[in-house]
């Protein structure tokens, strides 16, 4: 046998294959996608019932409620990010593949966002309408939620990787991720609230975008390192 030349398939090919596989898997098990969405819609539509239907109250609580519901829905779906790969041995195969692990981890996190974050962003205007948000505020909410859910998927992948080998790691995962998610929640909800009050919103959006870029840059490496530790 001649010595194989170790040029693995291109980086882009491995990256896209991981994303495509996760999306196909989600397509075959739509329950995993629908559950967090249902949770998001349920929580945010129960609040007006509990607080009261007055337009002033809704305008005051709307941005915060939508953002808290989005954060909790994202946390709910994060636990399963690497769990099935760990259980069926695919994770070992990913760790042992010649493709760089941070790239595959980025693929997993982006697939998670496409499956759970993006649908949440798409559904959020419906919820916003129930809070009587004006169109301008809804636009700002869509932008902040896009950056926010993407950051959550990326940061959450670190926590999911760290807790993948633990049984009932969900509570620990929330504890690990919440401190990192606080800036997203604060800036996201406040920016939408400012938009509702016709105030300047660009600073908040810039912050969320910067935070998202930071997560995009560092989270894949942290996730890769965490996967190697927790899969020992």
């Amino acid at each position: 046998m001649t010595e194989p030349d170790h040029i693995s398939p291109g980086l882009a090919r491995g990256f896209c294959a991981v994303i495509r596989r996760d999306i196909v898997l989600a397509w075959k098990r739509p329950g995993d996608v629908v559950n967090p969405l249902f949770f998001f819609a349920m929580v945010s539509s129960l609040f007006p019932l509990a607080i009261g239907p007055g337009a002033d109250e809704l305008a005051l609580t709307g941005p915060g409620v939508v953002w808290v519901a989005a954060l909790l829905a994202a946390l709910l779906s994060l636990n399963s990010l690497f769990l099935s790969d760990f259980e069926d041995g695919s994770l070992d195969q990913l760790l042992l593949s010649p493709q760089p692990l941070p790239l595959l981890a980025l693929g997993k996190a982006l697939a998670h966002w496409l499956i759970s974050g993006l649908p949440l962003v798409v559904v959020s205007p419906l919820v916003a309408i129930s809070f009587q948000m004006p169109a301008q505020t809804i636009n700002v909410m869509l932008i902040t939620l896009t950056f926010g859910t993407l950051s959550l998927s990326l940061l959450g992948s670190i926590g999911a990787a760290l807790t993948v080998g633990l049984h009932r790691g969900a509570a620990l995962l929330s504890l690990l991720i919440l401190p990192l998610a606080m800036p997203i929640l604060i800036f996201g909800a406040r920016t939408v609230a400012l938009a509702a009050a016709d105030d300047a919103v660009s600073a908040g959006i810039y912050f969320l975008a910067a935070y998202c870029m930071l997560a995009l840059t560092f989270a894949p490496f942290a996730t890769a390192a965490a996967l190697r530790i927790s899969n020992e």
């Binding site: 046998m1 010595e3 194989p4 170790h6 040029i7 693995s8 398939p9 090919r13 491995g14 896209c16 294959a17 991981v18 596989r21 196909v24 898997l25 075959k28 098990r29 099935s84 259980e87 069926d88 041995g89 695919s90 070992d92 195969q93 990913l94 760790l95 042992l96 593949s97 010649p98 493709q99 760089p100 899969n231 020992e232």
Partner: protein, 204 residues
């Protein structure tokens, strides 16, 4: 001939317990390394350590006369791994699973029909993996080994769940791989001998 893979003075602790220490081995192309030992003796841990999935307390794995950790990408491209978890997605069928495999590592994609024929899997390619029996799942996991352009096969208990014919098939495939200049590391509590080309490590 230079050694393909060797381990020097390997030692591993699990908590306070020393699983093994002073393990040495050398593996040339065309040879099989059999890791023997009772349950819980650290066979799987040794195999995972050699593959780079966990770190030894001390000791080095040398691959192509350099540490495997120096050129991880090259090393991983030369290793293909089979454990009791087959590493295929239960909701996808065999072809879909192998497609991901081909994106992760170099494979002989043109050999797919021949490999399916050899493993007697032609009738099973359209079924999701979850619909297959445990023995059939082991067979499809062998397809990954046969398709990968890797010289070193690492197998953890390759005979589990296989019937007599399946076990004979695995032994045949191992012998063929050795004939082609490949090397195998097998952790098993079953006896295995491929005409004098077998080296052994016994853990206790």
């Amino acid at each position: 001939m230079t050694e393909l893979l060797s381990g020097n003075d390997l030692c591993l602790f699990r908590g306070d317990r020393c699983l093994f220490k002073s393990i040495n081995f050398a593996l040339n192309p065309g040879e099989l390394l059999l890791i023997e030992g009772p349950n819980g003796s650290g066979k799987t841990s040794l195999l995972r350590g050699i593959a780079g999935l966990l770190d030894f307390e001390h000791g080095d794995i040398m691959w192509n006369e350099q540490r495997s950790s120096f050129n991880q990408q090259g090393f991983r491209g030369d290793v293909v791994w089979l454990s009791h978890k087959i590493g295929f997605k239960a909701d996808l069928n065999l072809v879909e699973n192998l497609r991901l495999e081909a994106s992760l590592r170099e494979t002989y994609e043109d050999r797919l029909p021949a490999v399916l024929q050899r493993l007697d899997l032609l009738a099973l390619t359209e079924l999701p993996v979850r619909a297959l029996s445990a023995g059939q799942q082991r067979r499809i996991a062998l397809a990954r080994m046969l398709l990968a352009k890797a010289r070193i096969w690492m197998m953890d208990e390759p005979f589990t769940n296989l019937d007599k014919a399946g076990q004979a098939l695995v032994a045949d495939l191992l012998a063929e791989h050795l004939d082609h200049g490949g090397a195998c590391i097998v952790a098993s509590h079953q006896p295995l001998d491929i005409d004098g080309r077998t080296r052994r490590i016994s853990l206790s």
